[in-house]
Subunit: 341 residues, 2 copies
Amino acid sequence: MKTKGKATSFDIAHFAGVSQSTVSRALRNSPLVNEETRRKVWEIAKKLNYKVDKNASNLRTQQSATLAILLFEDPTGDESQINPFFLNMLGSITRACAKEGYDLLVSFQSISQDWRAEYEDSHRADGIILLGYGDYMDYQSRLQNLLAQDTKFVCWGAKVEGRPDLTVSCDNYGGGELAAQHFISTGKKQCVFIGDASEHSPEFLMRFKGFKDTLEQQSISLSERNIANAISTEESGYHATHSLLANNVKFDSLFAASDLIAIGAIKALKEAGLRIPEDVSVIGFDNIAAANYITPSLSTVQQNTTLAGQMLVSNLLALIKGEQITETLLPPKLIIRQSTS
Amino acid sequence: MKTKGKATSFDIAHFAGVSQSTVSRALRNSPLVNEETRRKVWEIAKKLNYKVDKNASNLRTQQSATLAILLFEDPTGDESQINPFFLNMLGSITRACAKEGYDLLVSFQSISQDWRAEYEDSHRADGIILLGYGDYMDYQSRLQNLLAQDTKFVCWGAKVEGRPDLTVSCDNYGGGELAAQHFISTGKKQCVFIGDASEHSPEFLMRFKGFKDTLEQQSISLSERNIANAISTEESGYHATHSLLANNVKFDSLFAASDLIAIGAIKALKEAGLRIPEDVSVIGFDNIAAANYITPSLSTVQQNTTLAGQMLVSNLLALIKGEQITETLLPPKLIIRQSTS
DNA sequence: ATGAAGTTTGACACCGGTGTCATAATGTCG
DNA sequence: CGACATTATGACACCGGTGTCAAACTTCAT
């Protein structure tokens, strides 16, 4: 019992002595087929190592049981390295998809280049997950475009006023509050923030706002001098901290918009002979693996990537099914380690 | 100029006043179509936001411009965390695919569960990349099966005698040599190895062999007592090292089969009051991000994941094109940091 | 004007499934 | 035993492209 090339449902039909229609039904366990016929078909299918041709199936049914993920590169990041936080997200999304029986198409996206949102247009995926920090948010018109074409998609990241997308994100504002509260409760008075506190990085801005508002409730002000701009890399955090020190800004606590920034900051602080946490307490954001390994280990606001991946997938699936969904805010959690003990 | 639902080539044909065949040719820039016709068709296609339906196209041409990656879970690994080394590989493979104009389907694979090599069978991907440490290698029969079906695939990892697959891997044996040479040149005499030195983990076994052979050339023997079994996790490395110490094994240098193991080992050594590198030099394998962040920073044998990803992809594409390819061994590189200075 | 060669196009089968409808086979009941 | 519901199956159109082949139209040489 052999076939030339891959086995098709016609091959099975031939060997089973039934029509191809019946084979198709039998394989999908339609109640319309006789029990014995079904068994025979399955048996032959197994013997021929038959697998449904997804292209044909998808073409007919007009759906793909596949989601696509567009991973936006950090515009400045090292070519070869991906932000570990997003790599984690990628992992948890992959798992979440698998659990739902969906496949995942992965694609990198340089900010500059034309979006390949064609995925959904070209019927390769039923929906799209957009993943990346900050800058890609500029692409409002693209999102409008996706929306106009009735493309199903969800974004990871802070909700931006006026942007039409549905987002899943960590409660960045709440994360900033947690950091501030921790500094306050440990008696810190002079705080600095490192990160991009502008609309270019909505997530960072929210973290900053939560941090600042909470401090101000305790009459601790955060002046312009106490804010250093940085993108999410170690180098950037290092330089930002360096320039704070060079400008003679006094501080006993430092909140970085991401762990990578915090790691760079710690390096700069150490080089300046400052002790952590005695002289300066440091809190990061993300809880990437490295946070636990550096010395001193880094206190940080944890984003639950596992849950985030699940929510992104389940929200997207709900959207595809035509259900109404709303923003999802995931609760952050402060992990206290040596850098603030 | 509108269409109900997504635009098809028939819609374009209608608006352009030509046949659908001509549209198809024009869009693929066939030299058979008149220049002016081509322009008109492209213009309308753009206006209608037309995208080729990949399902239909793939069905007809019987190829998908897609590769699939099967990521095998560490059998014992934490559910939510993926081995960072493989996450890196995933990143570089994704990039390599993008560069070649291929899409990437990602799938996790629990060892226990049935392989979904169906990917290629079901025409969703033109080829498969298998990625994972050790144990999945048991699945010889599966590989035979893939081969029998003429499925195109490449594996990451050590070549195993008798296994029919084509592999790309780091020169694990050479990596072991590098570690041994470094210990020898810094005057170490009593070495231990931590990792699974059995056929279950071909990569680890090769690392071990390179290490052992090189030491023996210098009349340094590696007895059974100096080998501790461990899988690639921090905990396992910690416990293995712990039991070496508990058994009163004396050593001045430790080679771990992976960075995660080495990180666990360092923790155990520190707890035992041993100084690194003064009392014990430590070398890991992989050069994951954390290696640079722990204290002391970890000397390690680096695997070039960027190159590895590219080679996996280019080898697979060559295979798909029907070219003959051979094993690829990538040169490892010793990164010296504080743990052996 | 006529035939050969080159250029451009349309008609149509085909890829491998899914869904609809008609038909055949079997069973039920008055 | 005939009318009718029930169950199981086959025939066929269809999804949206691609590739083949024949036909229509030019162009140019004879």
